[in-house]
Symmetry: C2
Subunit: 732 residues, 2 copies
């Protein structure tokens, strides 16, 4: 070791440490304890050569704090490494750390004070920006929704009949054709999702009926079938052929790979024989199966010449055109539900029902004329997950629809909150002027804004995945799973808040919110139970981290530690005013995601080292795995919001501040975690809370303009309290 | 100032500081910074004489830390002050501080390790302990509930008819007579509340019909009427006379003092003329008004000879015996609701309806034969609040009923969680073995245990209030308001968790939880909106604090500061293992309540000093005021649980550990707040979380025994999933 500590650092093992050391000495807010922590994190790396460790230790000798000249040379080294090294990995580590710390001033501009909330907004600009993609398609849906489609408090049979009528009527607009791009439509894959989003402002039974008919039934034929199946799509789009999606079984709600229904190939007859071998294999909750559907896409274990090939989808007729069950098919009704009673969820049992082998949806698997089974995907597991991958679209649509449901409920509650005066006098305060009312509703309103943007981004990626542009789709699958969980939870909380904010009026069905609440309740369960999805997403994140460590080796470990230390230092360095700085917010979400992944991986590894079996080790930290999914979803939402372009002027400024509220409110929810990890100190935690309070006060007068910019037609909003006029009060 | 620092402290202004100084120097965990903080808190007191301040400063001279002998003398001084001083206030301050710090060893025994969760419990002992009071009355209710009283998914009219039939049938058991002690029953006031608690396990429409008929309608006559009115109570108890409680108006949901309905005294006819002057004065949400009630207790502004005397209650016939509205009375239906559709909520309008003056419920106000109005309570405001005070019973019953609803839903979900195996195989894990499932359900289960005990205590105090034993009832009113809020919120969260824990099965009405969920939803609104009640309770706490400062003067300020400092030091002193120590838990709840009150008072005072008007100053800190109510309720729940006696043996041990979970889970929820105030450091916060996790693992295998000890009859539990048998699975 020489006496030149800067030159000693110019070593492949040590270069990436340079930014950390620079910050540790140049930062005014760091004290000796912080430096010791940084040092200890660095020297803990088991792969450091003793000589390299000595170099690091020399930098932290409290008796020889570096002079300005030494720091300047250190900075030159950092810039040199960042700009010239051919070692891509080391460069990206250094870049990452430098960017996090803002050493090169990349984020210094963003530290300026936040955009103020404008006093007035341009309504059309705001509405256009909130709409985002497919404005023409959205306008067509709204046109249809401007005619009342409203029913409540009816007997189940009557309600089902009405909803079926709406679905047929919607088909006449041609909008459902958008569900099948390349076959019935020239539009892109995201267009139908935009239809779904707009329909989500209205009756949710209709939304789910539409989702089942076009998204699940038609979608399965479109995505899993081949040319001869796709010919049906025109009739499906017109509502002439009604079908259902028979996947779930009563004994296997969340475990779709474990369904028991069997499809046995009979070579002599060139037929598949569909059979329900046990009561637990009964198809259950199947939308459309109780009454409307004439066909079913049945998921069953395929048996070819005695060999089980895993779960496959087969097109099976379930009822005759006049609605009687086909011979061998037994149907039942799932019964009255908490909500969504316009959807005829039902049951199906199959008693050796025979269909031609051509009814196998055979994009990923075929049975040839010699009765030989073949698939381009060798592993039955991977084959099944490829087929399930086509369900991503369903998850994205359900999440996006949940956000629309929240928008509708919030629009009703906030219009009422602005016009209704507590204690009944125009002279007194409107409900929205009460801080508790603002706290109840506005963070959810802000959430709808950032979540809509997130689903727009997710749809783009999904479209790319379908055309193969995206490459590996595993990250998208994890994102769709995590975002569906986040959005459906958001919707339940937002609609619940809207219900409570309207008191007794919110409890009356005439005011819509109560039905939205009970309808949206099950969004956390269908298209994948949220807890199961969160584990799926969390495990995917852990897998990606493990892979990164395995391929990156020592450098990857360095990257992980360096990033965590750098983030923590960066956060502490920022003053109280920085919480409205987008870069600071994003860094906090990133820190949370990465810290949760690293610590979870460490906890699992410890259990494996102690001899625990894999599944048990993961189960032992199940809450931690689930937290990763939420943190990942929140980080994606924040990143995508930050990357989205907003219009110049007041509309854009308002959207930015809504984004501040959404992001800071999420960070506030996790304040205990950030305080425990030391990423926040109490001052920072208070600064976040105070900024949230400032935003609530500033945004309250704009809330009505925001919900009106949702462009929900009056006939769809429907609730009398949404049209309450304090000058001429009428009561529903 | 002498050289004897102990003797210098023996001064009226300084004695109460002695315990703080003792702790500051004797505690091993305190460092110099902590001592500086203690000193600064003390010397900040503006009322300290300069000489006294110098004494305090001398104690914190880092150059002269006290020797053991000096500390021993200091301790003698503390004991002397605590045991002999004739100044009651100073003594109580010293006692309080000493107790908080555990200096005299009062709580040292409690620092022993926690009671372990027993491996098995004695079912009857556990059930008896959870039952608590009035076991015989409860057994009678259960006997009645062992016959099925079950209806769901019916048209509103049919459901109402069935519930009315149940109510009449219940009357035949004689149980409703318990609602009117001293008139129709020799039992105490709490007996009927026990009936209400047991009924809360069943159909909640029935519960509310019972609450309206006996609690509100009969209760108003019993509490606000005099002898001639009370003669009706026998007929009311037998269900022969059905009535309603016409207080709420559509324009004045939460502001009952502002109702517009008028009762004008006509001296010539000796009649009261009841009139609805505007549409906003329409009586709304009135249970029973749509169909069943023949009589109404109408709340109206009493006008006697042109003078308004405030809101009074008048008995008014609303329908003839065959159900037609009385001339001048118009009735309407509030419409289909989210839940509770077995209750016929309706509307009433009065068109100059005349009733004899004797129909005035005149316990607190009379109109004599000369037409002169008189009341023992001079202020119309106080008079009204005295009348409203009789509603405390309703709030207590609603809160207790909400806890029962939570118990029923949790019983169904936990019985299912124990028997249903994820992924459908007996070899795999039961749902309850999953950490996320435990986290979802068990804290709520623990909450039901401590909340039942809290309502038992509240009922005792309410009975004392009615007989006048309690004296000032304002604290009880605040407690009832805050506890009703806490319990109804708890119920919503618990039933929601139960719904989600049962997935798709939980969404089917056949499994009961969905109806419990939508029924319990409005418990947060009726009998006082939770936010309005929380402000009432919070303001009462602030008022009590202000009064304490005003009467206590300097000493009260000292008490406040001393307690806060002492609590904070005490918490930091305790090691990680102390979180299961009941004394530590109670101190944390107390600190939270007191800190919130003090800081809220300071924030309001600052605004008043800045010239803000009173209501605006309070509104500006509305969230803070609401938080006080929750903190007060949580502290009461914790204190009453700690003070309750549990049986010796495994049942008592299990109840203690359930209490640990309930209390620690509440503290965990507030972790961010405790970390921000510095009461927790990250280590302590983690210790709380880890203890919660340990408790979840330990208590999961006992959950089924706990819910079975609720003694809910099978016919009442009713849900097929509550009786799922994995060996012979049948599916609803």
């Amino acid at each position: 070791m020489s006496a030149d500590r800067v030159r000693d650092l110019d070593d492949p093992q040590l270069r990436a440490f340079a930014p950390l050391i620079y910050v540790a000495w140049s930062d005014q807010d760091l004290d000796a304890d912080d430096r010791v922590r940084v040092l200890s994190d660095m020297t803990k790396q088991p792969w450091l050569r003793p000589a390299a460790r000595a170099v690091v230790e020399a930098w932290f000798d409290p008796a020889s704090s570096p002079k300005a000249e030494e720091l300047a040379r250190l900075r030159q080294l950092i810039e040199h490494v960042a700009s010239t090294t051919s070692d891509g990995d080391a460069k990206s580590v250094a870049d990452e750390i430098a960017r996090t710390l803002g050493i090169f001033g990349a984020t210094s501009g963003a530290l300026a004070s936040a955009t103020p909330v404008p006093d007035a907004v341009e309504p059309a600009a705001l509405a256009d920006a909130l709409d985002g993609d497919h404005p023409d398609v959205r306008a067509r849906v709204r046109q249809w929704m401007s005619t009342p489609h409203r029913a409540y408090g009816l007997p189940v049979a009557d309600y089902r009949t009405i909803v079926r009528g709406w679905m047929t009527d919607l088909a006449s607009t041609g909008l459902p054709r958008l569900a099948f791009p390349g076959v019935t439509s020239t539009d892109d894959l995201a267009a139908f999702s935009a239809v779904f989003e707009e329909l989500g402002h209205g009756d949710l039974s209709l939304l789910i009926k539409v989702g089942v008919q076009y998204g699940l039934y038609g979608g399965a034929i479109w995505a899993l079938g081949t040319e001869r199946h796709r010919q049906r799509l025109a009739k499906i789009a017109s509502g002439e052929e009604l079908g259902c999606f028979a996947m779930s079984e009563v004994g296997h709600g969340s475990n779709v790979a474990g369904v028991e229904t069997v499809a046995t190939y009979d070579h002599a007859a060139r037929e598949l024989v569909i059979h329900t071998p046990a009561e637990s294999a009964r198809k259950e909750w199947i939308g459309g199966a109780a009454h409307d559907a004439r066909w079913a896409v049945v998921f069953a274990q395929l048996d070819v010449a005695g060999a089980r090939q895993g779960v496959h989808a087969v097109l099976v007729p379930s009822r005759t055109s006049d609605g009687h069950p086909i011979a061998g098919v037994r149907t039942g009704d799932s019964g009255v539900k908490m909500g969504l009673n316009g959807v005829d969820n039902g049951r199906l049992w199959f008693e050796h029902v025979r269909v031609p082998v051509g009814n196998l949806l055979d994009r990923f698997a075929t049975i040839d004329k010699d009765g030989v089974y073949a698939s381009p995907i060798a592993s039955p597991d991977r084959r099944f997950f490829t087929m399930l991958g086509t369900l991503i679209g369903g998850r994205i649509s359900v999440g996006a629809g949940a956000v629309s449901a929240a928008r509708a409920a919030l629009a009703i509650a906030l219009r009422y909150a602005e016009s209704r005066h507590q204690f009944g006098s125009e002279r007194e305060r409107a409900l929205i002027d009460y801080p508790t009312h603002q706290r109840r509703l506005l963070p959810h309103l802000a959430d709808t804004v950032v979540l809509r943007i997130a689903f727009r981004e997710l749809r783009k990626r999904h479209a790319k995945a379908f055309t193969g542009e995206l490459g590996d789709t595993r990250e998208l699958e994890a994102e769709a799973a995590a975002l569906k969980g986040l959005a459906s939870r958001h919707a339940i909380e937002a609609v619940q808040a809207a219900r409570e904010a309207c008191g007794g009026q919110g409890y009356l069905l005439v005011n819509r919110i109560a039905d939205i609440r009970t309808d949206v309740e099950i969004f956390t369960t269908f298209e994948g139970d949220n807890t199961v999805l969160a584990q799926l997403a969390g495990k995917a994140m852990l897998g990606a981290y493990r892979k990164q460590l395995a391929t990156g080796g020592n450098r990857a470990v360095l990257r992980a530690v360096g990033k965590r230390v750098a983030s923590a230092l960066g956060a502490r360095r920022a003053g109280g005013e920085a919480v409205s700085d987008r870069a600071w917010q994003l860094a906090a979400f990133r820190f949370r995601e990465e810290h949760l992944v690293e610590t979870c991986a460490a906890r699992i590894k410890k259990r494996l080292d102690d001899g625990m079996e894999g599944e048990s080790a993961i189960l032992a930290v199940q809450e931690h795995v689930v937290a990763i999914s939420e943190a990942m979803a929140e980080r994606r939402v924040a990143d995508w919001f930050a990357a989205t372009s907003v219009p110049a002027g007041s509309a854009g400024d308002l959207i930015k501040r809504l984004g501040d509220l959404a992001l800071l409110h999420r960070l506030e929810r996790h304040a205990a975690w950030f305080l425990e990890t030391g990423y926040f100190d109490p001052t920072k935690s208070r600064a976040v809370r105070r900024e949230v309070e400032v935003l609530l006060r500033e945004l309250a007068p704009r809330a009505r303009e925001v919900v009106d910019a949702f462009r929900i037609p009056d006939a769809c909003l429907a609730a009398p309290i949404a049209f309450f006029d304090p000058a001429h009060p009428t009561y529903p």
